[in-house]
């Protein structure tokens, strides 16, 4: 309770507050003169000179030469979307449920589906208008199959405001899949670590 008492006590003088000891400004000419002389010979200017010279000698350069060098970005960074594949079969994870299209608050996802020859639902059209997308991450969060996620590709300059990426652009390439280098997204909608231990199994008794 001590802490709350400390906070509730608004009497400033009892809390160890003290006024910073600043000398009064000189009012008469002699005082001003003394202050000027003191400041002149205190050598403060040389402190500044030494600081910048020291930094130059240390040569500890913090510049990142951007197009050649890039900062590492976090795994949860929400840049241009990616479409993941299943690890087991390399098949597309997307089942065409349309939840991402439904939840998208800026209406930038458009998709169309059809029934393929195996009588399974298949995505036929899928585009994201990056000009409208606000990269909120709702689509990645709502996706039941962890299919649509965000990626780390943030360099998406384009010639016009309507800049579309389509399904084949976002889909993990097959050779990348074969090499086993597909990276799972750790951000919105991702499975938390140790999910298996924490999940409550659905009781099948009823």
């Amino acid at each position: 309770m001590k802490n709350t008492q400390e906070f509730n006590n608004r009497n400033v003088s009892e809390n160890g507050y003290y006024l910073v000891d600043i000398a009064d400004y000189p009012t008469d000419g002699w005082g001003k003169f003394k202050r000027v002389v003191q400041r002149t010979f205190r050598g403060e200017l040389f402190v500044g000179l030494w600081v910048v010279l020291r930094e130059m000698i240390k040569f500890d350069i913090h510049t990142i030469q951007y197009p050649q060098e890039k900062m590492p970005i976090g795994p949860r960074y929400r840049a241009v979307h990616e479409m993941k594949r299943l690890w087991e079969s390399d098949a597309e994870r997307c089942i065409g449920c349309g939840l991402c299209e439904k939840i998208c608050i800026s209406n930038c996802i458009k998709m169309d589906t059809r029934i393929d020859e195996h009588s399974r639902k298949e995505v036929s059209e899928y585009t994201i208008n990056l000009g409208r997308c606000i990269f909120c991450g709702y689509c990645a969060e709502v996706c039941p199959e962890l299919a649509i996620t965000h990626g780390g590709e943030y360099e998406q300059a384009s010639e016009q405001r309507e800049h579309f990426v389509d399904y084949s652009y976002m889909l993990t390439p097959l050779d990348k899949m074969k090499a086993g280098t597909q990276v799972e997204f750790e951000g919105f909608g991702a499975i938390t670590p140790h999910e298996d231990e924490r999940v409550k199994k659905t009781p099948l008794a009823y």
Partner: protein, 329 residues
């Protein structure tokens, strides 16, 4: 006046013009690099190795940029103002001995364009005329911020001319001549003969005033930094603006030559080592201009005037009186 002398002078003029125009460009490179290193940046890196060709890129840009003469400006004065800055900066170089005399193919070369007997007075006078560049440029620009900057830089230049002149008077009294060659001969005895040992106050005052005369950072009031506007050059573009720039940097180089020549022994006994020494001292003073720009903030205009009229000028006068008394008795 014989022909050989005429040809020699013309060649020297052209050499000085070319070298210092180029140095003004390279000076901007040094400034950007050194400022960057002091602020933990890299500076120009992309044009050429370590950004060395950045100067050339800037030059191409300046030369090919459109030369805009805005409406309402006083055309002729607007056009001539940058020329005044650049021209006076280079005219001042006429009386500066850049190196000791040397033999070239059996011909004795004096690396001074004209050893006039009023050398230092001429240099200070011409640098004073350089004030008309910013002043006229700012007044003719039909831009209130340019006008403000012009008025302020005029006030600074005129005020600090007093300090420059008075501070240099005491060494002139000791040497008994205005020629920079004579100044150099006076100090030719070596390290112990430098005027800085007998006139340290004059040295400091002249050095401080040099910052105001060139408009460099502690006294960089020619730019309206508080209004985020570049000052008298706001309306200028292309090579006219470039001329202001060349003038400023050439002035820095020439002042960096004058300070060692006056106070720090110049080129000494005229040997090769002495010549290198002069270049080294010049390089230090030029570096110091950049160094202070990274380290120190600008002072307020009223503080600058206070410093000039209430501190530096009285000290300069007292210095002259004491020097006179010492010389008399």
């Amino acid at each position: 006046m014989d022909t050989a002398y005429l040809i020699e002078t013309i060649i020297k003029v052209v050499v000085v013009l070319l070298i210092f125009s180029a140095l003004a460009g390279i000076g901007t490179y040094f400034e950007r690099k050194i400022l960057a290193f002091m602020q933990r940046r890299l500076g120009p890196m992309n044009v050429g190795p370590y950004g060395l060709l950045q100067v050339a890129a800037d030059g191409i840009k300046l030369f090919t940029k459109e030369d805009i003469i805005p409406t309402n400006v006083v055309g002729r004065i607007f056009k001539i103002a940058p020329v005044i800055t650049a021209a006076t900066a280079f005219m001042a170089a006429a009386a500066i001995p850049f190196l000791p005399q040397f033999e070239l193919f059996g011909y004795t070369v004096h690396p001074i364009i004209s050893d006039v007997n009023i050398g230092i007075l001429y240099i200070l006078g011409i640098m004073g005329v350089g004030l008309y560049g910013p002043l006229l440029g700012g007044m003719a620009s039909a831009n209130k911020f340019s006008l403000l900057s012009a008025a302020r830089s005029a006030a600074v230049f005129i005020s600090y001319e007093v300090v420059t002149g008075l501070s240099i008077l005491a060494p002139i009294m000791m040497v008994g001549s205005l020629s920079l060659i004579d100044f150099n001969e006076y100090q030719a005895g070596g390290f112990g003969d430098w005027i800085v040992w007998s006139q340290p106050v004059a040295f400091i005052l002249f050095w401080i005033a040099a910052f105001a005369e060139t408009g460099r950072t502690p006294f960089h009031l020619v730019a309206n930094d508080h209004e985020i506007i570049d000052g008298f050059g706001t309306e200028y573009s292309g090579m006219r603006w470039g001329l202001f720039f060349i003038g400023e940097y050439a002035n820095m180089f020439f002042i960096s030559f004058v300070i060692p020549l006056l106070f720090l022994g110049g080129y000494g006994d005229g040997s090769f080592l002495g010549a290198l020494g002069l270049l080294g001292k010049m390089a230090f003073f030029f570096f110091f201009f950049l160094w202070t720009r990274a380290a120190w903030p600008d002072v307020r205009p009223d503080q600058l005037m206070w410093l000039c009229w209430k501190v530096l000028m009285p000290i300069a006068v007292v210095n002259i009186v004491i020097t006179g008394l010492v010389m008399m008795f």
